[in-house]
């Protein structure tokens, strides 16, 4: 049974069509990579799955665990087990990173979270990401550097334990060390064999240490090629030029 099933999906932003009749599937435990040049519509796919109201679904369907995802509001999609990392996560003065994650967990599970156990888990996850524990008590994303914001997103991924994670350009703007740390976080997530991943990227740096099951090349809103992990190597070598001129 497929975890996520996208059929003939068309999406537009501000009346401009971005995705055209996209179809693909993700099964439990699989890692998919979505690659393509800038402006191909990669981020649009993530936002459409998560339900960003700025993205309009013109046609097609998205099913998640056999349920119609498009009928659900954003928070219900999150509760169903979908997570998307943001390229520019918002800053909220007045609420700490720790309290934010705890509130999200309580809403997601519908249960009160025991603070002692929560803090222990949070510390453990922060250790994986080599985050200074003081960040837990800092206001959400306020004054965080680009790299710290990415780590804070992966931290939420580890704490919220979704069944499908969409990582949107999680590696962009990071130095080599930071990419390595973020990759470690992703590997931690993959330790659960059922965890599925869609990694959206236009570069290949982050993929070197990860196992990839499927690769999709997105150009101009359409999937122009599908392959296994080796397609990443080809892109690494030759770029997208071959796919842009067909």
């Amino acid at each position: 049974m497929s975890l996520l099933s996208i059929d003939n999906l068309s999406v537009s932003v501000e009346e401009k069509q971005i995705l055209k009749n996209l179809t693909f599937q993700v099964n439990k435990g699989e890692t998919h990579v979505l690659m393509g040049p800038n402006g191909a519509g990669k981020s649009t796919l993530g936002n459409a799955i998560m339900g960003n109201p700025a993205y309009h679904i013109d046609g097609g369907s998205i099913f998640f665990q056999d349920e119609d995802l498009l009928a659900k509001p954003v928070n219900e999609r999150a509760k169903a087990g979908i997570f998307m990392s943001f390229q520019n996560p918002i800053e909220v003065p007045g609420i700490t990173l720790s309290n934010f994650i705890r509130s999200a967990l309580e809403q997601k599970t519908g249960q009160r979270i025991r603070i002692f156990q929560f803090k222990k888990e949070l510390e453990k996850a922060m250790e994986v990401l080599q985050m200074d524990p003081s960040y837990a008590e800092r206001d959400l994303n306020v004054g965080f550097s680009g790299g710290e914001k990415k780590k804070a997103e992966i931290l939420q991924l580890l704490m919220l334990k979704p069944s499908l994670a969409i990582l949107d350009e999680t590696d962009s703007g990071l130095d080599v060390d930071a990419v390595r740390t973020v990759s470690r976080g992703i590997l931690e997530y993959q330790k659960d064999k059922d965890s599925a991943l869609i990694i959206i990227t236009h570069s290949t740096g982050i993929l070197s240490s990860l196992h990839v099951d499927h690769t999709h090349i997105l150009v101009d809103g359409e999937i122009v090629a599908n392959g296994d992990g080796s397609l990443v190597d080809e892109i690494n070598r030759d770029g997208f030029a071959r796919y842009e001129h067909n």
Binding site: G51, N52, A78, P93, G94, I95, Q107, F116
Partner: protein
């Protein structure tokens, strides 16, 4: 002798139909000083000095109303930095008609944190005027928590003068009340004198809040930073006047004013008028305001982590006030106001 006076004047008037040029304040009787519980730290002395003559945000009408009220005057001794804050607390009695004047004088090189926590019974009226004079290189942090009762009218007025290299940081947390009038005028007279304000308010029910913050720059290289963040719900009404006034000669000065208001109901009234008055070339002034509903990106972000809209809005509303409370340098006050970490173990 009930009478109505005009307070919180806009430093430059505009269209009359907006009703923003000033506020009407009705008082029933002459003011009676309320009991203030004061904790005076070491190096601060109470004295009988005359009231500092300095214009205030509410204006002359209020100063005149309070002219016969005895002044509580505190001096920070030269060369000292009190380790503890000067604490002033009062819980205004039922149907009070109270008036108090506090005067703070910081000698050169001193530093003081003053924390005032004003609460009240359900009904009544109180006016508090705080005057300060900051000598060279002194630093004042003035924290005022306004938590009046539901049917209480409170006037909190400030007037201050800041000399060379001295600075004042004003933190205002305003919660509730029937009507709260906040005046605040600071004369930045000294070279390199600074004003910073952090204002947080959350109003619901029928609460009204009328503010007038006025930074008056005359010294060279002065700076002000006025930040106001608030949340309005139900039938709440708020007026924010914020003025940066660059007087000719204040070369090298900068002023920055930011306002952020979250509106949670279609019955609120939100009025904002941020002025920059400028008669000096070599200055930089900015103001910005964001008013309305919660930003869609913020809502989407929090929803994508599994929270429903109502919880996101509640979280964001609390966060705004908590962010201001976190800036209070006194831990006792912070702990008092911040929600306890509710542990379910």
């Amino acid at each position: 002798m009930e009478r109505t006076m005009k307070i919180n004047h806009l430093p430059a008037y505009t269209y009359g139909w907006l009703h923003l040029n000033n506020a009407d304040l009705t008082v029933k009787d002459a003011p009676v000083p309320a009991d203030l519980k004061v904790e005076v730290p070491v190096h601060v002395v109470a004295n009988e000095s005359a009231r500092i003559a300095v214009p205030t945000g509410a204006g002359d009408a209020l100063t005149d109303y309070l002219k016969d009220v005895p002044v509580l005057s505190y001096d920070v001794l030269a060369g000292s930095i009190p380790a503890k804050p000067l604490r002033i607390r009062t819980d205004y009695a039922k149907d009070a008609q109270a008036g108090n004047v506090i005067s703070l004088h910081l000698n050169a090189g001193t530093s003081l944190v003053a924390v005032m926590d004003l609460t009240s019974e359900a009904t009544g009226f109180a006016a508090l005027q705080t005057l300060f004079e900051l000598e060279e290189d002194s630093h004042l942090t003035l924290v005022q928590i306004l938590r009046p009762g539901e049917q209480f009218t409170l006037v909190n007025d400030i007037g201050g003068r800041v000399k060379d290299r001295a600075d004042v940081h004003i933190i205002h947390v305003m919660l509730g009340g029937k009507e709260v009038y906040q005046g605040c005028r600071v004369n930045l007279e000294g070279r390199h004198s600074d004003l910073k304000t952090d204002i947080g308010y959350r109003l619901q029910g029928e609460s009204k809040l009328d503010m007038n913050y006025y930074a008056y720059h005359t010294g060279k290289k002065t700076s002000c930073e006025i930040q106001a963040d608030g949340v309005l719900a139900d039938h709440a009404k708020k007026v924010f006047r914020g003025t940066i006034d660059f007087i000719n000669g204040c070369a090298g000065s900068v002023g920055d004013e930011r306002e952020d208001v979250l509106l949670l109901s279609d019955d609120v009234v939100n009025q904002t008028i941020p002025l920059i008055l400028c008669a000096e070339e070599d200055v930089e002034g900015n103001h910005g305001a964001t008013i309305g509903r919660l930003d869609e990106d913020a809502l989407f972000y929090a929803e994508s982590r599994g929270m429903d809209e109502a919880s996101v809005i509640e979280m964001m509303a609390s966060a705004r006030i908590d962010a201001v409370i976190k800036k209070i340098p006194d831990e006792t006050t912070r702990t008092l106001l911040l929600p306890k970490e509710d542990d379910h173990d």
